[in-house]
């Protein structure tokens, strides 16, 4: 046999099966308004929005090495922009959600320029300062209710769609759509030239830099895009909640701690990790939530144990055993299958 018999491929049997199953699953999920109850749909919407947040945090921490504990800055910013743009700007809620994402990118630019001066762990705390600045600033805006917050007026909610069930379906589809949008963006970004650069930076920053990759600019782009999509998700979260206050909008626990636990438990630095992590997180929450604070402590302990004993998370354990890859990112060499050679 000679070398030319070997071929290089990106896809694999498991990835093809996953793609087909994923497509079927997506169709089933899109059809949820016809088979799921109202409470289930709300729960699933929340799950999709957490999935979006987790995938975005994973892109930053797992691929770009930007560990942020301040993503609540953009969740809250997006939520507040939805309220401000619909109440004072008179925009349709869906237009406001898109504009909130764009404004999130815009405000992320100066924030990134500042906090990118901090390295590593200090960067993490720097992101938290930015989130606090946002929280305290929005608490000063009396038109948006100041520290006590405000509700989305009924007229704006009704402008979303006519009829309660139509509104609920629409907001469900928006949540599902945002999760699909985020995962697809992350997937195609990582397969692109820039994604390859990002993966190279993750694996060895020094080597990547010496090959001519502009590290600062690549990380900057990831931060700004993540901020935009996080703001979009934030706007959707508060479209579901219909009420916003600085403490809820910029909560470290809700929008960062949970998201970090999801990614760590599921498997950081993989696309599949956040998906599995979100499922585990909601499963635990629905069964243990009655325990209140104990539940959060359990979650903290689980995250620490996973980080120390299985740093690649649940998906890492699965992959080590079964050599699966549902979202093909890397290339693999395939041996020729002819029977003559041994």
């Amino acid at each position: 046999m000679n070398l030319s018999d070997y071929s290089v491929t990106r896809t694999s049997q498991s990835a093809r099966v996953a793609a087909v199953l994923g497509a079927i699953g997506l169709i089933v999920l899109i059809a949820a308004p016809w088979w799921a109850g109202r409470a289930d749909m709300r729960l699933m919407s929340e799950l999709f929005l957490y999935l979006a947040l987790a995938s975005l945090w994973n892109l930053m921490a797992g691929y770009a090495g930007l560990v942020s504990v301040g993503q609540q800055a953009y969740v809250g910013f997006g939520g507040y922009m939805l309220f401000a743009l619909t109440i004072f700007g008179g925009l349709h809620p869906i237009a406001a959600i898109v504009v909130a994402g764009l404004l999130g990118a815009l405000i992320a630019i100066p924030a990134a320029v500042l906090i990118f001066r901090l390295r590593g762990a200090y960067f993490a705390i720097g992101t938290w300062v930015v989130a606090e600045v946002f929280r305290l600033s929005f608490a000063q805006v009396s038109a948006l209710g100041g520290g006590s917050g405000s509700s989305l007026p009924v007229g704006i909610v009704k402008s979303l769609a006519s009829g309660r069930s139509a509104r609920e379906s629409l907001s469900y589809w928006l949540a599902l759509g945002s999760a699909v949008l985020v995962i697809a963006s992350v997937y195609f970004f990582l397969r692109s030239r820039r994604g390859l650069a990002l993966t190279a930076i993750r694996d060895n920053e020094l080597a990547a830099g010496s090959l001519g990759i502009d590290i600062w600019r690549t990380k900057f782009a990831v931060y700004v895009v993540t901020a935009a999509l996080t703001s979009l998700a934030g706007a959707l979260i508060f479209l579901q909640k219909l009420r916003i206050s600085p403490d809820a909008a910029f909560s470290v626990n809700d929008w960062t701690a949970f998201v970090i636990f999801i990614v760590v438990i599921g498997g950081i630095g993989t696309i599949e990790g956040p998906i599995i992590g979100t499922l585990i997180f909601f499963l635990l929450r629905e069964t243990l939530a009655d325990l209140g604070t104990i539940y959060l402590m359990v979650l903290g302990v689980v995250a620490i144990v996973v980080m120390l004993k299985a740093p690649k998370g649940v998906w890492g354990l699965i992959r080590a055993r079964f050599d699966l890859q549902l979202f093909p990112l890397g290339y693999r060499v395939v041996r020729p299958t002819s029977k003559k050679d041994t």
Partner: protein, 287 residues
């Protein structure tokens, strides 16, 4: 005169922030670890102070005699039992483990003490003041500032004049060679965390005397300490004191303009310094 008063009060407040920051600065200097749970450990110390004062009825300042050794032991155990395992080239494990620890501490305190704000009470000390011309200075803020200066002087002395300090500096410079010279870096790291949490204990008691605290106040304390470290410049303890003072003054002046602006103006001062002098005012090492 009002402005001068705000300036002086802010300076004294800065002493407390420097105490928040000193432990953070120490462990970063020795082992490049940034402890996200640092603020929650400060709050834990305040709660320990509360338990001691209410159990045996001593003055909070005297309660330090029990809280400081307790936090020292917790620090050594925490470092050897958990945090040493996270240290390495990868940035993620220490960050995420201390983040998990922060959530556990916060919710543990919530479970044990409820969300009600608590305060350490020291009748007499809280309200006592001395008059300096037309400005009256609280005895507690003065005491806090004095303790902060003493603690930083003590840390500085430990770092540069004792064999323990030599060990700290050795593992900070090169862990492997320090290990070859017969230092057990795991033990040294344990001692560094023990010392850091001893300082944290002092900070926690003084925090509890000054303001009310609840299980969720840790994050804010971490941020103030962190800002003081960055403003002062990495690796310089006196710089950290200066950073704390700058932060404190920015806050009291902000509060003078509008009470809602107190914390926000501290953050803005931090961001301005980050923009014009990212390495801090008096850096001794690079991050």
């Amino acid at each position: 005169m009002d402005w001068l008063n705000a300036l002086i009060q802010g300076t004294l407040l800065g002493g407390l922030y420097a105490l928040f920051a000193a432990g953070l600065s120490l462990i970063f200097g020795v082992m490049r670890l940034v402890n996200i749970a640092h603020g929650d450990l400060i709050v834990l110390a305040a709660y320990l102070g509360l338990v001691v004062t209410s159990a045996i009825g001593v003055h909070p300042i005297l309660a330090m005699a029990l809280v400081v050794p307790a936090m020292t032991l917790i620090g050594y155990a925490l470092q050897r039992g958990l945090l040493n395992q996270t240290l390495g080239d990868d940035l993620l494990p220490p960050l995420l483990v201390t983040f998990g620890l922060s959530v556990i501490l916060q919710n543990g305190l919530l479970e044990g003490f409820s969300a009600d704000p608590q305060k350490l009470s020291a009748p007499g000390l809280e309200t006592a003041s001395v008059a300096l011309g037309s400005i009256s200075l609280g005895v507690l803020p003065l005491l806090t500032f004095g303790i902060a200066v003493a603690v930083i002087w003590g840390l500085q002395w430990t770092f540069y004049k004792t064999s323990l300090g030599r060990a700290f500096r050795a593992v900070s410079d090169n862990q492997d060679i320090a290990q070859l010279m017969g230092l057990n870096k795991r033990h040294i790291f344990g001692l560094a965390m023990a010392l850091a949490l001893a300082v944290t204990a002092v900070a926690g008691i003084l925090l509890g005397l000054r303001t009310s605290f609840d299980p969720s106040s840790g994050g804010g304390r971490l941020i103030f300490g962190f800002e003081a470290v960055i403003i002062g410049g990495l690796g310089n303890l006196w710089g950290t004191l200066a950073g704390g003072v700058i932060l404190g003054v920015a806050q009291t002046i902000g509060a003078k303009i509008d009470p809602g602006w107190q914390v926000l103006s501290g953050h803005i001062a931090f961001l301005v310094i980050l923009a014009i002098r990212p390495q801090g005012l008096f850096p001794r090492m690079s991050g």
